[in-house]
Amino acid sequence: MIVRIATEDQYRLPDEDAQRLNELDNEVVAAVEADDEDRFHALFEEMLALVRSDGRKLGDDELEESDVILPPPDTSFVEAAQEFTGDGLIPD
């Protein structure tokens, strides 16, 4: 699966990571709904770290569409409230 971290890069991840990513996505939504800013930042960082560590950056010659696009790494809590709602970034 291909995941983009907005304003950063596109990564190719093993499909197994999809489930973990989806779990984190749901947890982030819960944190945002609970108005828990610290928890949001911790979880979002974890999401980013997962993509960066497990993923391989796409080459400049690969024109691929992303399956999932994560918001920019410097996303604020206020901005997050608009992205992480309902099913989150990844529909369940």
């Binding site: 983009r4 304003t7 950063e8 999809a18 024109l63 399956d67 918001p71 990844i90 529909p91």
Partner: protein, 259 residues
């Protein structure tokens, strides 16, 4: 992963689909999107230039503040030496304020540096992807029927379109941030013009509005500490006429013992 798609990618896709639907001739679409992308590349260059300008401005302000810190420190010493503790306190408060600002500025410059680097990398990446797209488009035009070409173009255009949208987003965020910094820099300029960092400390300390603001902004305890430190320094040296120390030629005999 079928069915997985971020909100943003959906938006990008629908925009590109709309663009493809409008065009009747696939090669026309290709040329159009290629032209659009080249335009964006120019925008990215402008975005980088904006960030560089903002950074230069902040660096200038850094220099000014650094000079102010030195000057205010000297003024505080002079004031204390002349037994004007009130003025010394005001100078130290201003120094503390300037130091806090300096810290913020340092962070902002580092942030802008990273943003500038990021945008430059993004520009290079987009350039490579565009080159890839250009090659692909020639192949598609030459090898595929109109119907097949439409599909192939869709794929390539979505890929490059996403990259394009992402660069656009990175640029927008960089611009928003520099805009915030610019606003803050202007506010500082105004404060400076209003006398916050005035050259002479002849104002009656604690009387004007700026001083009241400074009292609120700076931490009292830090100023108290600084003041105590200065007193100790001056006390252990020539306590009698330290105000003259700075301008006094080295060889001139002192009158310390006589006062």
């Amino acid at each position: 992963m079928p069915g997985m798609s971020g909100r943003m990618s959906t938006v990008i896709k629908s925009k590109i689909n709309k663009m493809l639907d409008k065009a009747e001739d696939p090669s026309e679409t290709l040329e159009y999107s290629y032209t659009k992308q080249m335009e964006l590349l120019q925008n990215v260059k402008k975005g980088v230039a904006d960030v560089v300008t903002a950074k230069k401005r902040l660096q200038l302000q850094q220099q000014k503040l650094e000079q102010q810190v030195v000057k205010l420190d000297t003024q505080a010493r002079q004031a204390l030496a002349s037994n004007r503790e009130d003025l010394a306190r005001t100078a130290l408060e201003r120094k503390q304020f300037a130091q806090n600002e300096l810290q913020t500025l340092d962070q902002q410059v580092v942030e802008l540096e990273a943003q500038q680097q990021g945008l430059i990398e993004k520009e290079q990446k987009l350039r490579s992807k565009l080159e890839q797209f250009r090659t692909k488009k020639e192949v598609i035009k030459a090898q595929y029927s109109a119907a097949e070409a439409q599909v192939k173009i869709g794929e390539a255009a979505t890929g490059v379109g996403e990259e394009m949208a992402d660069v656009g987003m990175a640029m927008q965020r960089a611009q928003d941030k520099t805009e915030n910094m610019r606003a803050r820099a202007s506010a500082m300029d105004e404060l400076e013009a209003a006398g916050a960092f005035d050259d002479n400390l002849t104002l009656t300390a604690g009387q004007d509005d700026i001083d009241r603001q400074l009292h609120e902004l700076t931490s009292g305890s830090q100023v108290d500490d600084d003041l105590a430190k200065l007193k100790a320094e001056l006390g252990s040296g020539s306590a009698a006429s330290p105000a003259l120390e700075q301008g006094k030629p080295a060889g001139q005999p002192t009158q310390d013992g006589q006062q």
